[in-house]
């Protein structure tokens, strides 16, 4: 590390060191000690619906293919031909029978097995021992349709790693309103800043009224009231293993509760249309509540958040560049009109042309620009994450502070420290 401090010193209880955002050496170490050593989110199962459906993504810096094989199992394979390294799969998503390398034609099955090598005679009369050259697969496990992969064969089972985050994932999936959920698309954008700036932001309610003022002013009074949560009963709680939850709107934690409450004005037309389609009142209420999304953000270390109504995925590009995907969530085979509402609500706030995301992005750019003003002395090189620390109390699963507290960031940085010290 470029600084003479060790991982253990770079993260303190209430602050983290500037070099966490600026050191290329630390970034490289993060790729191996964090992204290649823990469970990393790779897909929602709906993104690879059938045998042969694939999605190209990354675990840290390594390109991987998420693919459903012929038996219906989801595999995560390294996207590298075992001959001389060409990628065997291109495009963000698609469907294929097999992976044929474009360079010399080695052909791999959906399970990664090497099936065919052109002009094999040159490898001798026995040919090539094909079972020695499959596309290597990562360990894959999923929970609630969310698929995670890891390079670390002996890591704890995913469900243990998630721990108390699981119950929040259960709550999050109630947005399916009984239909189940699917991810039909995402917006992708990049910002010039370190990946942990985005990680922090998912449990940062503190920025909301200022950064998202231009969004808030477009809301009707009822919606504005819902989004005025700064001094409400919300909280941030450390869920262990770097995960945390930020509850902004407590009445929207359980989308199947409070179904008797009046339907918000902005969804009145939707409710009327659903009723017209013959859905009973309870179902209408359930769908309408689901359309609005949940009232919390769940941060799952290191790269995925269940953020109110969508998945927020981060991908580290370099120490000072990060790619973000905002994946929209629809009700699988749900009423078209309800899904259209969800799509339009997503476009409203999210993505590079939304009314919210660009302002987040600008704030993060400013963080990355400002972090270089770090003086010469150690005392000037710290990033403060102490908000809410003095009022933290034990919550259901870990330390809990008010909704604007930085408890979620402290949770993530303690996990960072643990993995980076290994």
């Amino acid at each position: 590390m470029t600084t003479n401090l060790k991982a253990a010193d770079l993260v303190q209880a209430d602050r983290v060191h500037t070099s966490l955002y600026t050191s290329a050496e630390i970034f490289d170490e993060e790729m191996s000690k964090i992204f290649e050593s823990t469970w990393v989110w790779v897909a929602h199962e709906s993104e690879v619906p059938e045998a042969g459906s694939y999605k190209n993504t990354f675990v840290g810096k390594q390109p991987v293919i998420v693919v459903r094989d012929r038996k219906g199992e989801i595999r995560v394979l390294l996207n590298r031909c075992r001959h001389r390294c060409a990628t065997v799969c291109e495009g963000k998503k698609g469907k294929t029978q097999s992976f044929v390398c474009p360079y010399h034609g080695w052909a791999f099955g959906l399970d990664g097995a090497l099936r065919n090598v052109p002009y094999e005679g040159s490898y001798g009369s026995e040919g090539l021992d094909k079972k020695l050259f499959p596309l290597p697969g990562l360990r894959v496990e999923s929970y609630q349709g969310m698929v995670f992969a890891t390079f670390k064969e002996d890591i704890e089972p995913l469900v243990d790693y998630l721990g108390p985050a699981k119950k929040w994932m259960d709550l999050f999936m109630k947005q399916g309103a009984g239909y189940g959920i699917e991810v039909p698309g995402e917006q992708r954008f990049r910002f010039p800043g370190n990946w942990k700036i985005q990680l922090e932001n998912t449990t940062d309610a503190y920025h909301f009224p200022l950064v998202h003022k231009s969004f808030l002013t477009t809301l009707d009074p009822q919606a504005l009231d819902t989004f005025s949560f700064m001094e409400g009963d919300g909280f941030v709680e450390d869920l262990g293993n770097g995960h945390s939850v930020m509850v902004m709107i407590p009445e929207l934690v359980d989308l199947e509760a409070h179904l008797d409450q009046p339907i918000p004005e902005r969804f009145a037309e939707l409710a009327a249309e659903l009723a017209k389609q013959g859905l009973d009142d309870l179902k209408v209420r359930k769908i309408v509540r689901a359309v609005g999304g949940t009232g919390f953000n769940l941060n799952i270390f290191p790269n995925i958040a269940c953020s109110m109504a969508f998945f927020r995925v981060l991908r580290p590009i370099s120490v000072e560049e990060t790619e973000i995907h905002h994946s929209v969530i629809n009700m699988k085979d749900g009423p078209e009109i309800a899904n259209q509402y969800r799509l339009r609500l997503h476009e409203y706030f999210q993505g590079p042309l939304g009314f919210g995301t660009p302002d987040d992005g600008e704030a993060w750019c400013r963080v990355q620009a400002g972090v270089h003003a770090c003086g010469r002395e150690e005392k000037d090189k710290w990033i403060m994450v102490n908000r809410g620390l003095p009022i933290e109390k034990q919550g259901a699963d870990g330390p809990r502070s008010d909704v604007t507290g930085e408890t979620g960031m402290r949770a993530a940085y303690q996990q960072w420290k643990k993995l980076m010290s290994a």
């Binding site: 039909p184 698309g185 259209q340 993505g351 042309l353 660009p358």
Partner: protein, 158 residues
């Protein structure tokens, strides 16, 4: 299809481009039919904009809110506002049906924001309706060439 129509359409699109580059948003909104949609798709093949995720799919109310957001001074991403100059060219009339004209054009847009230039190239499809000696926009679909890649924030109207 007459050259006269092409001239009229060209003049209209240049006027629109000029309004947008000079941030005359109220005048731009007045160019629209109220039922019109301003759409920036993600999927280059998409035509079912209602049932797919876009970057934006604005109705009249959203267009007005977007314009307001861009000049309100409340959005840190557009303060200072990006400066843009766009060239609209290769204007072709695809279809003329009564008062409705479908047009396709290429747009090269250069943006300067704070300390950097960006370049966005798009194919734009317009549905125009003849009205009062000019046109109203019934639909504008902006297909960024790199729409399915990761892009940066766009703090203006394309």
């Amino acid at each position: 299809m007459s050259l006269q129509t092409l001239h009229e359409v060209t003049a209209f699109l240049w006027q629109e481009a000029d309004l947008l580059d000079h941030k005359e948003h109220d005048a731009w909104i007045a160019l629209w039919e109220e039922s019109g949609r301003y759409i920036v798709p993600i999927d280059p093949e998409s035509t079912d904009y209602a049932n797919t995720l876009n970057y934006s799919n604005d109705d009249h109310a959203m267009r007005k809110m977007r314009a307001h957001r861009l000049r309100s001074g409340e959005a840190v991403s557009t303060t200072p506002a990006p400066r843009t100059a766009r060239s609209t060219s290769r204007i072709v009339i695809l279809k003329e049906d009564g008062d409705t004209i479908v047009v396709r054009a290429a747009q090269n847009l250069r943006e300067f924001h704070k300390d950097r230039f960006r370049h966005y190239t798009s194919n734009i499809e317009y549905t125009l309706k003849r009205a009062g000696g000019s046109f109203k926009i019934a639909q504008k679909v902006i297909r960024l060439l790199n729409s399915d890649d990761a892009i940066a924030s766009i703090g203006y109207i394309l």
